[in-house]
């Protein structure tokens, strides 16, 4: 019995060490962001700021149109999430539960997109957005991401798991498929929709390469590429860089702590399915 007690203690010690490595960069980011530029370059460095100053946050706000960039990111994330939920749910329902000619081939076509790395599509996607005259606009940020093969595949799995009899009575009563979807099916796949919202929000908020390519004017940027601009402008202003990083990660971290159960369950599911 005694050995198992020691074993537990050792397990905790290892896990706590791991936690240290996991959170250290976040703590260091926070500490630095409240220092003055001078203090951040002291040798040896101070751990906690000698004097808590919000100077760095102020300089981030003035260096870039940060409020605007924040709103762009919120806007692009909300549109991407809403669009994917509507488009993927509709398509997934149809692929899972309506029989029509060519269905399986069309679904396979959608799935094949999942197997191709994103770089393959990037140059033509860029040229399409350019042709549409949408470079450097908010539309460019979400356009290709509204259509998700992954989201459709995931939602289809949820629809497939429901029993067949659900719709039969409603169909005999003359309900349209749309009414069935909204009134009967959507409440039953709520956990799938929540998972889709979380995955998409995380992806859209943190996405880097696509917004970096399409929008180069600072007032049209999202946070991730804006951090790269900030880094370029304030090469030696580490508190300002860290303040920018803090502001950029906060919304997802808050969202994560509020919905941690859904986040973790959503991820845990992906492995079980595969």
């Amino acid at each position: 019995m005694k050995t198992s007690k020691y074993k537990k203690l050792l397990t905790h010690l290892i896990l706590i060490a791991g936690i240290g490595i996991t959170v250290l960069p976040f703590l260091w980011m926070l500490c630095t962001s409240f220092k003055t530029k001078g203090e951040s370059m002291m040798i040896p460095p101070t751990i906690l700021p000698e004097r808590f100053v919000t100077e760095a946050y102020y300089s981030v706000m003035t260096a870039l149109p940060f409020g605007r960039i924040y709103m762009n990111t919120v806007f692009s994330t909300v549109i991407t999430v809403a669009g994917q939920v509507i488009i993927c749910t509709l398509a997934a329902y149809s692929f899972a539960r309506i029989k029509f000619p060519g269905r399986d081939i069309l679904f396979l076509l959608v799935l094949s997109v999942l197997m191709v790395p994103g770089q393959i599509f990037l140059v033509p996607q860029y040229l399409i957005v350019q042709k549409l005259g949408l470079l450097d606009t908010l539309c460019a940020l979400f356009l290709p991401n509204l259509f998700s093969a992954f989201g459709t595949f995931m939602m289809r799995q949820f629809f497939l798991s429901l029993p067949d009899e659900l719709e039969e009575a409603a169909i005999l009563d003359g309900c349209s498929r749309f009414q069935i979807l909204i009134n009967i099916m959507v409440p039953l796949v709520k956990s799938g929709i929540v998972a889709l919202v979380i995955f998409t929000a995380k992806f859209a908020w943190n996405d880097f390469m696509w917004p970096l390519i399409v929008n180069t004017t600072t007032t049209k940027m999202t946070l991730a590429p804006a951090l790269s601009t900030l880094q370029g402008q304030h090469t030696n202003d580490y508190p300002a860089q860290m303040a920018g990083a803090v502001l950029a990660v906060i919304p997802m971290v808050v969202l994560f702590f509020v919905f941690q159960k859904q986040f973790i369950e959503g991820v845990a599911h992906t492995g079980v399915k595969g």
Partner: protein, 302 residues
Amino acid sequence: MQGTTRKKIAKRQWKEWGEGYLFIAPLLLGIFIFYIFPFIQNFWFSFNEVNKFNVATFYGLNNYIEMCKDKELWSALGNTLLYVGITVPVGLMLSLFVAALLNTKIRGTSFYRTIYFLPSVTMSAAVAMVWKWIYNEQYGLLNAAMKAGGFSPHGWITDPRTALFMVMIVGIWGTVGYNMIILLAGMQGISRSYYEAASVDGASGICQFFKITVPMLSPTIFFVMITSVIGGFQVFDTIYMMIGKANTAYRSTQTLVMIFYRNAFDYGHKGYAAAISILIFSIIMLVTVIQMIGQKKWVNYD
């Protein structure tokens, strides 16, 4: 009489089909415009020279011939393979280890899970900036710790010999928690009775881990491996943020996706970039197929 019911049925069938097509129409339209058409066009572009004004002229196999001669591309391929070859096994072992620790009867597992998961929800661009600051040669936390421990400071991400490894640490740090959650869910699906039987036979915890957990978990391990390899081949954000073009370690950390990005959107060689993207696709396919074949030897599905 029979005719009208048949008509009715046919009408209902048409309505059903119509609704089916209508529901998939928005998705299919988007997938065609933004994915399937680009896939074909990208393939075509790889046989063309696409200049700064995006005018394509036929170039035959020249992009591919150029690729064979491009030393920078070969070194980028080497860097990418090294990145994948180290981050995937090390990350996998670490996440298996943490998952195994969390799969025991100890308190606070949900707290640990939450904290370990944190890096995978945070923006990689922001996180890369923080690590870059930690690695900073003059004022960074790492060198301060080195000095305190009596070692001499080092230019971690400016020295071509160490830079890629420092980037790998960030990559591993960012994905261990995510993979751990998937593996842990798999471990919790293994029936307790196997372990009970093994305990009766006197098998130690470590022995149980290798004889029960790993084989039973092999489909999940395989899934994590496949997705990590694909993700590893496409690493971009962290390297872009940490290693600028003026960095002395730029060449030694340049990956395939980075060289693709530079050619497509920096140097204006979109045709050549298209050919590189096809190379990336082919390598990922090849490695995935090899893994699929190799899995038969160690993955068991019962």
